[in-house]
């Protein structure tokens, strides 16, 4: 395998759905990012091999967001572009495909990342209404039409909420929140433990914002109905977050007995993230200064109802694949889909019996000072298609700042999978 360089990575601000990014259609969460990176290099716009974009809430208007982003970013029309979907890890899948293509020598210069506008996920007509339309189109005579029209009932109009369906596992029938409740029950994590974790995430993120640490990775995006204002900051982190406030929230997914609230789960979010990946030849040719090297990646499946444990299996896989150990990692990102789910992962990692149950090596206890140091998705949000590559962006920037060596980014994937990537910082 040839070495694969993570030359530059950036992201849009992340905003809770229905807020400041709600009008920014998916392609426009990505094209600024490519342009911003291209403008920092001397790579001609017709020398990019491919654009690979992770996206899950596929907008009807842009069936292949990847190609649209390539063109909107001003890359040459010959640039190939496509879109990948691996639920929550779509952005990581995109980067991983780029990795394979460059490592194998097929490609030299690839943009890979993810975009998600969850605000714009549509409401759909239900099946009854769809049938009604089909019947109406088929009806030829006016009597037939009248007959069909008279079959209309008000419940026909109750919409299918695509985002709700998307976040429910079709195999086990649980929605993502319910899978987190299941882990909380099985691993006996109390409501308070979860709220403490969430509170911590907010305060870490707010501190990072205040110290200006996130500025380097964020590219300002034009927003507003009139497209005349700029936003440059995430709007998720709450400086006034407290255990008392979090304690007041009602359980969302299991109303009576549950412990998972909107406060200790990640919010629905809009955002995008991007990487420029290059071969060694391209790095030399264009005199690039890569931020990091991508060491390897791994994806792994498990039972859908415990999808939250995915990171453990994926981390185990990528460590085995690379012959590395968790101790070697200077920083670790485990995506915070739910506080209960991250806490459960940490538990499995340090517990021999549990590790055996999921057939992974005992990874060991993770030093809390290495985990999600600038806050996680509970504060920053989780734009599903983007998070996989967003974690890598945040990780690489922080490794660079610390002049540390290795970092690992992992996340759980709805449907019962986990994904993990190891990168090596080159900014010494």
């Amino acid at each position: 395998m040839k070495p694969v360089y993570l030359v530059k990575g950036n992201r849009s601000p992340q905003a809770k759905s229905g807020t400041i990014l709600k009008d920014v259609a998916a392609p426009y969460l990505g094209h600024y990012l490519i342009r911003d990176i291209m403008d920092q290099t001397s790579i001609p716009n017709d020398q990019v091999d491919e654009v690979i974009i992770g996206n899950t809430g596929n907008p009807a208007k842009y069936p292949n967001v990847g190609r649209v982003i390539a063109l909107e970013a001003g890359l040459d029309k010959k640039t190939s572009g496509y879109t990948v979907h691996r639920n929550c890890a779509s952005g990581m899948e995109a980067v991983s495909q780029a990795f394979v293509k460059i490592a194998s020598g097929r490609s030299d210069i690839i943009f890979a990342g993810g975009v998600e506008n969850m605000s714009q996920m549509p409401l759909l007509y239900n099946e009854d209404m769809t049938d009604f339309f089909i019947d109406l189109m088929k009806a030829k005579s006016s009597t037939d039409k009248m007959k069909v029209l008279s079959s209309f009932r008000l419940p026909h109009l109750s919409p299918v909420i695509s985002i709700e369906q998307g976040l429910t596992d079709p195999f086990c029938g649980l929605n993502m929140g319910q899978t987190a409740e299941k882990l909380a029950r099985e691993f006996k994590f109390s409501r308070t433990q979860q709220d403490e974790f969430a509170n911590n995430s907010h305060h870490k993120a707010v501190r990072a914002q205040q110290e200006g640490k996130l500025k380097d990775e964020i590219v300002s995006i034009i927003t507003g109905k009139k497209l005349d204002s700029l936003i440059s900051e995430d709007n998720g982190p709450r400086a006034d977050s407290s255990l008392e406030k979090l304690a007041k929230l009602k359980p969302y997914f299991e109303k009576k007995t549950g412990t998972v609230t909107v406060g200790n789960a990640c919010p629905i979010t809009d955002g995008g993230s991007m990487w420029l990946l290059c071969s060694e030849e391209a790095v030399k040719k264009y005199n690039l200064e890569p931020m990091a090297r991508m060491v390897d990646f791994h994806f792994h499946g498990l039972e859908p109802e415990r999808m939250g444990l995915g990171p453990v299996l994926a981390m185990d896989g990528v460590l085995k694949r690379t012959g590395m150990s968790l101790d070697q990692m200077d920083l670790v990102e485990i995506n915070e889909a739910f506080a209960a789910q991250v806490l459960s992962c940490l538990e499995v990692m340090k517990n021999k019996k549990l590790s055996d149950r999921w057939n992974v090596d005992l990874l060991g206890e993770l030093d809390q000072s290495k985990l999600n140091v600038n806050g996680g998705a509970i504060a920053l949000g989780h734009p599903v298609g983007s998070t996989g590559s967003r974690l890598m962006v945040t990780l690489a920037h922080e490794l660079g700042r610390r002049k540390a060596k290795y970092g690992l980014a992992s996340l759980c994937i709805g449907g019962g999978q986990g994904g993990a990537v190891i990168i090596e910082n080159l900014n010494q």
Partner: protein
């Protein structure tokens, strides 16, 4: 037959007449030769008993016929000659209309004036969906009317009301709209036109009249309703033209008088009207302006000059945002750089507001708005400047800051990137000193608001290369603006000539002439707005500042007035803060005269007749223009007139400032200036030696 203008081919009984086969220019126009060849061809077809149909088409993609050659119109020296010319054309087109076989025109691209009149003489028109396809009768813009039967055939084809709209404004319609109004039978891809010609030629008319069309048609047949239509149209024309332009009124007069008349008398009336209009001073002036503009669009070996594919703008204010809009609108994906987010947002707001207006008028779609506005990259760094082919600087008007900016930006751009400044008052020669390589540097002076003002001054300095000037010239044409090339001097061309006009207005005010009478006199001269109103628009602070620069640069003859200075001190800045000579509401709409400004004016009022006011203001402009020609700031009177018409809206029906001076007689102008010199102020009315020489040699501005 040895044809040059028309190709003739016959296939299965159908004749195909093609235009523009050997045309080397981008547009094919109708010449006398075209009409002669056409006449012969029609005779031949008329005599052919086996002829089944006739199809007119163009060999040239994107141009059917762009109308009669304007130089032919210009060469007409009498009303009779002009009328007779029309009659000749009318005869040919009548012959086409009278053919017994089905006839059809295939229109791809521009089909204007005589071109459309020819197409209208066919039974049917079908056109391509090409973006360039545009049909219209723009004769009114040259101060005449369509003289080849257009006024007769257009109303018959699309109804009186719709045709009035086209005839009176000269506006052009695109394919889709042409279909909707019933002007064309069908719209299809250009490549299919010839292929489908035979099929459509023999097809029955398919245009079903809508209820509204039937209604308006019925209305125009009704004597009373027709009266209302004409009265309303006349009212609109007078509002728009303020009575300065006779052509639209003549068109109305002709249509009303000829309505319902037989073809022969209708057409002879049309020819007579054309003859009359073609000899009016207004039409002559408009023809002159047409050529000024047309010549400005010419650039030798344009295709060999490299285009700007990506631009960059420094400074996100009103001008910066406007220029970013211009680049974004021309698909040049500009970088908009400022030193803070607030500046960037100001620029984005400026650009967005222009796009939004276009969106409201349905000139662009919502998707285009989004794409174009988002093609602007707001940036705080110089990243990406290495990809730009043109940088336009629009930061604060301060020589030191601008010099600093240029010496910095030079480090980030490629060697062939053009560097320009949008300064309106600073010396280009001086600024060029900040650059290591100043051969690719020039001034690029836009007028505010960028989206509306058609003129761009390209300012030379001593070290600029011809390549730079040519590339900038091409760029200005590419973004659909009109360029003029000017040498460096205070105010460049337009502002240097405008300055004495505004300065003198303030002197008139100081002398006790009222705001109302000055603005009224200026409007009645034909200027788009009054002098005081214009100072509000420009900003009284800007006027005051420019006044100082002019005085410093040109000496006592440009001695600045005191009034604008006092007004600025009193916080009266003009439209920008809602208080100037007039008051303005929050949306910028003009209200009453500002009582605060009256406090700065003398209590003693001076009554002055309109002509004197006009001369007090216009003569210093002519005098300064003469100085400019003397100093070789621009190459010719053409450039002066083009600059003033497109830069400040000097009335086109006067043909331009110097054309106007010529027509008034330079001897008289000189006399009037000398009179003011002795009566008003010796220095401000100091006769230009250049003008003096012209008079001595009995020359005109346009005879050089």
């Amino acid at each position: 037959m040895n044809n040059k203008k028309i190709s003739i081919e016959q296939k299965e009984g159908i004749y195909y007449l093609g235009f523009g086969e050997h045309e080397t220019k981008s547009l094919t126009v109708i010449s006398e030769e075209t009409l002669l060849e056409m006449d012969e061809a029609l005779s031949e077809i008329k005599g052919d008993k086996n002829a089944k149909g006739l199809v007119l088409f163009s060999h040239k993609p994107g141009c059917f016929l762009a109308g009669m050659d304007v130089s032919v119109i210009q060469s007409l020296t009498s009303e009779i000659e002009a009328s007779q010319g029309c009659e000749k054309g009318q005869e040919v087109f009548n012959k086409l209309e009278d053919l017994k076989i089905p006839t059809m025109a295939l229109v791809d691209g521009v089909c204007l004036g005589g071109g459309l009149e020819m197409a209208l003489s066919c039974d049917k028109i079908i056109c391509s969906d090409n973006k360039k396809t545009a049909l219209g009768l723009p004769e009114v813009m040259l101060g005449v009317l369509p003289g080849f039967g257009g006024t007769y055939r257009l109303p018959r084809k699309i109804g009186l009301t719709t045709s009035l709209d086209l005839l009176l404004t000269g506006k052009q319609v695109k394919a889709k709209k042409a279909k909707r109004m019933g002007l064309v039978e069908a719209v299809m891809p250009a490549e299919r036109l010839l292929e489908k010609a035979a099929e459509y030629l023999f097809k029955k008319e398919s245009h079903n009249k809508t209820f509204q069309e039937t209604l308006t048609e019925k209305a125009s047949e009704n004597f009373l309703a027709r009266g209302v239509i004409f009265r309303k149209a006349r009212q609109t024309v007078l509002e728009k033209t303020k009575g300065f332009y006779p052509a639209p009124l003549k068109i109305l007069e002709h249509l009303e008088a000829s309505f319902g008349k037989r073809r022969s008398s209708y057409l002879s009336n049309e020819a007579r009207m054309f003859g009359e209009l073609s000899q009016t001073s207004q039409s002559k002036a408009l023809q002159h302006v047409f050529f000024l503009h047309d010549n400005a669009k010419k650039l030798e070996q344009k295709d060999k000059i490299s285009s700007v594919r990506q631009g960059a703008v420094l400074g996100g204010g009103t001008m910066g945002g406007g220029i970013a809009w211009l680049m974004a609108n021309s698909n040049q994906s500009p970088i908009l750089k400022d030193i803070n987010l607030e500046g960037l947002e100001l620029g984005l707001k400026q650009s967005s507001s222009v796009f939004e207006k276009a969106l409201k008028r349905r000139k662009i779609t919502k998707d285009e708005f989004e794409r174009k506005q988002r093609s602007i990259k707001p940036s705080l760094s110089f990243d990406g400047f290495q990809r730009s082919h043109l940088v336009i600087e629009a930061v604060v008007e301060n020589m030191d800051i601008k010099k600093k900016v240029f010496s910095e930006v030079e480090n980030y751009v490629s060697d062939d990137c053009l560097l320009t400044t949008n300064t309106s008052s600073l010396s280009i020669n001086e600024m060029a000193k900040a650059l290591k390589n100043s051969s690719r540097f020039a001034g690029l002076h836009f007028f505010n608001p960028v989206n509306k003002m058609p003129l761009v001054e390209i300012i030379r300095h001593e070290g600029v290369s011809e390549e730079t000037i040519n590339r900038l010239y091409k760029w200005v044409l590419d973004v659909k603006k009109t360029p003029i090339v000017v040498n460096d001097c205070p105010g460049f061309l337009v502002n240097r000539i405008l300055a004495p006009f505004l300065n003198e207005s303030a002197y008139l005010l100081e002398q006790g002439v009222s705001i109302e009478s000055i603005d009224k006199a200026v409007l009645n001269f034909g200027m788009p707005m009054g002098a005081c109103r214009l100072m509000d628009e420009v900003g009284i602070d800007v006027c005051s500042h420019v006044g100082e620069i002019m005085e410093a640069g040109l000496g006592p003859r440009a001695k600045a007035n005191q009034l604008s200075h006092k007004a600025v001190e009193a916080g009266l800045l003009g439209k920008k803060n809602g208080k100037g000579f007039y008051l303005y509401d929050d949306s910028g709409k003009q209200q009453d005269i500002n009582p605060d400004i009256l406090k700065l004016l003398p209590d003693q009022k001076t009554e002055m007749d309109e002509t004197t006011i006009q001369m007090r203001l216009i003569l210093p402009m002519i005098n300064e223009a003469a100085n400019i020609l003397d100093e070789k700031i621009v190459d010719s009177a053409d450039t002066v007139d083009l600059g003033l018409i497109f830069g400040i809206g000097f009335p086109p029906f006067r043909g331009g400032l110097l054309k106007y001076a010529d027509s008034e007689g330079l001897e008289r102008i000189k006399g009037a200036i000398e009179k003011f010199a002795s009566e008003v102020n010796e220095q401000r009315y100091e006769l230009s030696p250049y003008l003096k020489k012209l008079v001595e040699n009995k020359q005109k501005f346009y005879e050089l």
